[in-house]
Amino acid sequence: MKLETLPETSALISECFPDAVLETHEHRGDETLVIDKSKFLKVCEFLRDDSRCNFEMMVDLTAVDRLEQDVKPRFEMVYHFKSLSLSKRLRLKVHLEEEDSNIDSIHHLWKAVNWYERECYDMYGIIFNNHPDLRRIMMYDQFEGHPLRKDYPMDRQQPISELREVEERNEYERSL
């Protein structure tokens, strides 16, 4: 990776944290960086505090499960940031193994992160270290499993209230 060919923020991060950046691309104009898990917290602090990047807003936090593509590592955390003063956007990615699916929480840097990380835990089962209140947010507590993982079947329902018998129901199967 030559520093001159990279877009601005990626060049900055590569300069300050040389061994943190694993990959970088700019597909369709979206600047993307893949960061090593151990340096992730420091990079985020740098992104928020340094005046050359100044990312005041954490826009989105989600994960992608790559089980069907047979790509290791399985989970990919995706963070989107926005700098209002410098009009820049950035996407940060961190790869997580299936057995070791935990990552540092950044809730102390941006206040919005708290609930987004709870949702990620609820849907994918990714543990966020040092999160103050990691519990389910979308599903009810009695739910077992993490629904957005690719190996959770879509139709498996876990009702918590007693359901009654309904006569003459046609069960239509989903077929694609």
């Binding site: 369709r28 989107h80 209002l84 956007r89 206040k111 708290n114 987004y116 879509m154 694609l176």
Partner: protein
């Protein structure tokens, strides 16, 4: 009044459970409350009528949008996006279709872009009308709800002429739109918008300088700029704090850079400013629609690219390439090239961004919508702690929480 030393870190209840101090009462403003906004449970801790802690619980309308999209084709996701922010469904449709077009790397034709702008702004107007109407009704001004719903009916009848449905429109496609605006639509639209302007002027007269209303909503639910940005506020909530951030100006998409409009901002970030910002945005949207109607070009509404649009029927039945294209498009679906995109657009509530991951086959790997009101409900404890119980109603009304967008 504000609670001294309001700690930003203790968003969850500061008083531990099981405390023998009975002056703190915990009540649940439960999911089935007069549900004009949706279903959210607020577990509040009260000292008399003063709120000392609050913990919102959401997820009561979690319908599995993301899981359903992963099990559909790309084009089958569009009806699901209608039901995300269901008061402004066209903005969701437009956001999603534009994100897929970004994945493909194409643009829709000019006429399609202008009609998208017009329909999107109509949707934005209906969103703000519903929000302000419901908020005013809950504060006690019932008339405005009826007037605004009447105004909304005028616009929905027009939306039905174009898309076929009042609410679940399912209108945009990849590379254009499904239907064109009929003849005489723009004139009818201008008439209806004049009526809407009259209704808004009447409401302005009655509400904006009304002492009762101002006492209810002024200095209630205020938030500072830095906190709002840290909480990820976007849209009218952030603009009421004084930050002139509008996705249509900051990251222009579609033809918004050719249209001249102002971005209204407030100063203190309380409920009154949000109400004023929303009313002014309705007027700005009307101005955008008028400009776009004047600039409306003539041309196709759908791109002619090979595997994006169904070929003409004379080609489908006429030559073998048309038949094969139609067959493959119906049976295998759209197959955008591998990659990932994030496209931010300005929804009715704030920035809604679609993050799409594709691997080149016809099945989406990940379809994610960044919800605008998730951040607002997350910040509800911060907005309400230190106020009274009766203030929850105007605060929650100004937040404009839409269940479909919050829980997806």
């Amino acid at each position: 009044m504000s609670l001294a030393g309001r700690q930003l870190d203790t968003l969850v209840t500061p008083v531990p459970k099981g405390d023998p101090d009975t002056s703190i009462m915990e009540i649940e403003i439960g999911p089935a409350h007069p549900a004009m906004h949706g279903i959210v449970r607020f577990t509040t801790q009260l000292d008399g009528e003063l709120i000392v802690g609050m913990d919102p619980e959401i997820g009561y309308l979690h319908r599995g949008f993301e899981k359903e999209s992963e099990n559909s084709k790309w084009i089958q996701v569009i009806p699901y996006t209608d039901r995300l922010n269901y008061v402004s469904p066209l903005l969701n449709n437009i956001g999603y279709s534009m994100a897929v077009e970004k994945l493909y790397g194409i643009e829709a034709p000019r006429r399609a872009e202008f009609t998208r702008v017009i329909m999107g702004e109509i949707s934005r107007i209906t969103d703000h009308l519903t929000c302000v109407g419901a908020a005013a009704m809950e504060v006690g001004a019932f008339t405005f709800f009826l007037w605004f719903i009447k105004a909304r009916e005028y616009l929905w009848e027009l939306v039905e002429e174009v898309t076929g449905a009042r609410l679940t429109t399912n209108w945009t496609r990849f590379g254009g739109n499904a239907t064109d605006i009929p003849d005489g639509f723009l004139d009818a639209l201008q008439e209806r918008l004049n009526k809407v302007k009259e209704i808004i002027a009447e409401c302005d007269n009655l509400l904006t300088r009304n002492k009762i209303f101002i006492d209810r909503v002024k200095d209630v639910g205020a938030i500072s700029k830095e906190d709002a940005i840290s909480f990820g506020f976007t849209g009218p909530m952030l603009r009421a704090c004084g930050v002139p951030y509008d996705v249509r100006r900051a990251d222009p998409y579609s033809v918004y850079d050719e249209i001249d409009f102002e971005v209204p901002i407030g100063s203190t970030g309380d409920c009154y400013d949000r109400y004023l910002v929303r009313m002014e945005e309705i007027r700005q949207s009307i101005s955008i629609i008028e400009q776009a109607s004047d600039m409306m070009p003539v041309g196709p509404i759908m791109t002619n690219e090979r595997m994006l649009n169904y070929p003409d029927k004379k080609d489908v039945y006429g030559n073998i390439e048309g038949l094969i294209d139609h067959f493959k498009l119906v049976m295998e679906g759209h197959q955008p090239p591998a990659g990932e995109v994030y496209l931010p657009t300005e929804g009715g509530n704030g920035e809604i961004g679609f993050y799409l991951v594709s691997d080149g086959s016809g099945d989406p790997v990940r379809v994610r919508m960044r919800p605008a009101c998730f951040n607002y409900v997350e910040a509800m404890p911060f907005l309400t702690v230190g106020h009274y119980v009766a203030d929850i109603v105007p605060i929650f009304g100004s937040v404009n929480m839409i269940g479909g967008e919050l829980d997806r």
